[in-house]
Symmetry: C2
Subunit: 128 residues, 2 copies
Amino acid sequence: MRGISISNKSNKPIYQQLFEQISSQILKGELESDFNLPAIRTAAKELRISIITVKKAWEKLERDGLIYSVAGKGCFISDLSNNELGNKRTNIIRKQMLKDLLFYKNLGISEDEIIKLVKELYSKVLSC
Amino acid sequence: MRGISISNKSNKPIYQQLFEQISSQILKGELESDFNLPAIRTAAKELRISIITVKKAWEKLERDGLIYSVAGKGCFISDLSNNELGNKRTNIIRKQMLKDLLFYKNLGISEDEIIKLVKELYSKVLSC
DNA sequence: CATACTGTGCCTATCGTATATACACAGTAT
DNA sequence: ATACTGTGTATATACGATAGGCACAGTATG
């Protein structure tokens, strides 16, 4: 599990953290398609979490079409073109941004103010 | 309780919905300072929710300095200047936007792409 | 002072979600 | 046959959100 870090102090549930970090890696093309994900039991042991928690994250990834699982074989990264990856990524961001913009707008902030804040804060955010 | 709508189907807890809607009204200057908030028991009855839930929302509002409560009297909107209201509003949005931008950035999206999406989506969002 | 409000604090109870452990079953590869 | 794999189920714990009830103390009004 390269680059996966789980915190039980986070406000986000563990399965959600797992899902977000792996889907991020897939969407950025950092994982080759048809590459084996670690076996559920293995991942659970490595991360010292429950099998159910891992399963939940894997199920969420499968629902989003990012991985596919074969009973008895394992779980694999879906074979998606760069175009498809880009579309999935944009759709996820678009969906999330609608919620975010609603929150901002309900506080009475204008489009220009939002863009000004984006420009001010974007570089301050450390992506991981 | 003007303009307050609670949904138990929302993924957000009830006290959070209450908090967000009232703080939004205060921050937009829609409620006069020193105006009485409804009594906790009254609000709970009107909204058909538990007293504890209302209390939780009121406590969150007090922690943010948006209201103050006097035992035996009631809860009142804090007396804040337009300047202070604006600052509080911006700080809340700034804090939230840092989380939002982290989420976008972790999916590998550039500043320009974000701004493009903001411009595309802002008008589509119906504030309430 | 009596009454009726107010906020506050505590106890109990229920419900759903997240998490964990254990076991059994079935598919796959060697 | 053996050792992997995913899947399903049963049980258990912990915690947050929600709800109802009760008691206490402060405030205002008569």
